[in-house]
């Protein structure tokens, strides 16, 4: 089983749209499981025209709770907390959004009035599309520990993949370079990087390549909207060459892509003859060359 993660650093460069199209193309030849680890703002299910078949609440976040029957109001916890998560009002109040669940406050409370307990911080959704299953994570509003939720999503995805004897898990990653991205990369076989020709996208690409580099896995690059700025496009090629990274393909700006998204379909399904679809077909082939899959 091969795990391929699609990341970009910068958000909005086309990760989910590309994942949807690659997923449906790879599924023509292989058993594929799709996974969405952008738990803050999961969009892959919208790009696929799916229906929800199952979900599971996840408590992958720890929070401190104060028992006010025992609390003396001494505010030792307020001074202990390194995350400014406890606010001194009339009594100390824990702001769950900032609480890391480290339990330092519970250890220092003279009245032993504080306990750390797991709380629900999101859910895992299982969707079905024509011939494909999709496992996604969804962070609860105001929930934290998105990295740990990603760990749970990937664990479930691996189970599902095992059950369905999937050969490829194709993972839509989160934007950024922080803990959810690191969690998405853990255990992956290959990182497919998506970028677009702009100074900002290249800047963020460089940062995420640095992170992915720690994992010593194969990496390949796709340039989306490749024709919007030639100078930046050339800089991306220079960056790829310097880092010995293959450019698996380029997708020109194509209105068919947002049109397909508006219809809830991958562009390769909605407009198979569109210029973007033809390029994505080539990218799917290049991806299988880069990540050989046993059948």
């Amino acid at each position: 089983m091969k795990e391929i993660v699609i990341i970009s650093g910068k958000g909005g460069v086309g990760k989910s749209a590309l994942t949807a199209s690659l997923g449906s193309l790879l599924a023509e030849k292989h058993r594929v499981l799709l996974t969405d680890t952008d738990v803050d703002a999961p969009n892959l299910h919208l790009a696929m025209g799916t229906r929800l078949i199952d979900f599971q609440e996840i408590a992958a976040s720890d929070k401190a709770f104060i028992d006010y029957h025992l609390c003396s109001g001494c505010m030792t916890c307020v001074e202990t907390c390194r995350f400014a998560a406890i606010i001194a009002v009339a009594q100390p109040v824990i702001m769950p959004y900032s609480c890391e669940g480290c339990g330092a406050c519970a250890l220092t409370c003279p009245e032993q009035a504080i306990a750390v307990r797991p709380v629900v911080n999101g859910r895992i959704n299982i969707y079905a599309t024509s011939g494909l299953s999709l496992v996604t994570g969804q962070l609860a509003i105001g929930g934290s520990s998105s990295g740990r939720l990603v760990d749970q999503v990937k664990r479930r995805a691996r189970q599902e993949a095992e059950n369905s004897r999937a050969e490829i898990i194709l993972i839509d990653g989160p934007p950024g370079i922080g803990c959810p991205v690191i969690a998405a990369l853990k255990g992956a076989d290959y990182a497919l990087l998506v970028t677009e020709p702009s100074a900002t996208a290249l800047h963020d690409l460089q940062r995420v390549v640095e992170v992915a580099g720690h994992f010593r896995i194969g990496m390949g690059l796709v340039i989306n909207k490749a024709d919007i700025h030639e100078v930046s496009r050339r800089k991306i090629f220079a960056f790829a060459a310097k880092n010995r990274m293959d450019v698996l393909g380029e997708i020109p700006y194509d209105i068919s892509v947002p049109k397909a998204i508006a219809n809830g379909q991958p562009v390769v399904a909605a407009y198979p003859d569109a210029v973007s679809s033809r390029q994505i077909n080539r990218i799917a082939e290049a991806l299988l060359d880069a990540v050989p899959v046993m059948t």
Binding site: V13, A41, V89, C102, A104, I141, P175, G176, K259
Partner: protein, 310 residues
């Protein structure tokens, strides 16, 4: 989980010791134009003589400086505490190992504990060590910068690639700007995409928030998520609909905005001059003040100035 929080607590969460208004710019979905909106409003305000600070709190991918073509300057390190264990003093009791909920400490049999995993700097180990054998070591996880350009002060936070402590860096850059608040008439805070701790920490202390989105199903879905979060944090404000003529459903965007008491929607249509200035790293309000998008940014700036009596 959090629905029963009292407004009093939320007010305490947002409490600050200065009067300069703070406006957040966020959006849920990535790549919808948050930083473009932030940079252009900041420039439009600065050009009106408003002393403006722009905080780039997207510490995973800070791009404000690129869009302003300004060098990062005045660096300051962002550190967290990591335990430094003094073998001479350690009595081998193992209390620190049990206190660490991240399981970052490991004690080989007959030896003193060692830091082997990710430490988030909570100091629980230091709190429980009766032998006072643990001191505060420092680990650098990020940087903050302060750059000045044409009447604008840009505070940038940058996580060092490979570290996980984004929200620590968010807090550091916000606090650096807030410490200088008296020098400014207005502070704008540009957040990362998403709706997790990075965004929440960036919006702490905001007086209102602009939620930027696009009319695609992705933009609609993520707008709803971010507006739910803003309601939880009791933050009002309006919606900016960028790339308003992309395929999608503008009516649904308006319906969602209204359901969340966001009556005002600012629309920015496709604008070649905006795209051109983006690529060149010059804010469109400065390069092409007559461009259609510039007009919207100028109106937004005027609206913010009027709202806060600047």
């Amino acid at each position: 989980m959090t629905g029963d929080l009292q407004s009093e607590v939320i007010r305490a969460f947002h409490r600050k010791d200065f009067t300069t208004p703070v406006v957040g710019i966020t959006g849920g979905k990535g790549g919808v134009g948050k930083t473009t909106v932030a940079v252009n409003i900041a420039c439009a305000l600065a050009d009106r003589g408003v002393r403006t600070a722009l905080v780039d709190a997207d510490v995973d991918g800070p791009n404000g400086a690129i869009l302003l073509s300004v060098e990062l300057a005045n660096p300051a390190a962002v550190d967290i505490t990591v335990p430094q264990i003094d073998a001479e003093r350690c009595n081998g009791c193992g209390d620190c190992v049990r206190a660490c909920r991240l399981h970052a400490l490991f004690q080989p049999r007959g030896k003193y504990p060692q830091l082997i995993g990710e430490c988030n700097g909570c100091e629980a180990c230091i709190q429980v060590c009766e032998a006072h054998a643990i001191s505060r070591g420092r680990k650098q996880v990020g940087m903050t910068y302060l750059s000045r350009i044409d009447g604008l002060s840009l505070y940038t936070g940058a996580l060092i690639p490979g570290f996980e402590e984004s929200s620590v860096v968010v807090q550091a850059v916000r606090e650096r700007a807030f410490a200088d608040a008296e020098q400014f008439d207005l502070i704008l805070v540009d957040t990362s995409p998403g709706a997790h701790c990075n965004v929440i920490n960036a919006l702490r202390g905001a007086d209102s928030v602009l939620a930027v989105t696009e009319p695609t199903p992705f933009g609609l879905h993520d707008l709803e998520l971010i507006l739910n979060l803003l309601e939880l944090l009791e933050l009002g404000g309006s919606v900016v609909l960028n790339r308003a003529d992309l395929p999608g459903d503008r009516k649904k965007i308006k319906t969602v905005a209204r359901q969340h008491s966001r009556e005002m929607i600012w629309e920015i249509g496709m604008d070649d001059l905006l795209a051109r200035s983006y690529a060149a790293g010059v804010p469109v309000v400065r390069e092409y003040p007559q461009a259609p998008s510039s007009k919207v940014f100028q109106q937004l700036a005027e609206n913010i100035a009027a709202t806060y009596g600047i």
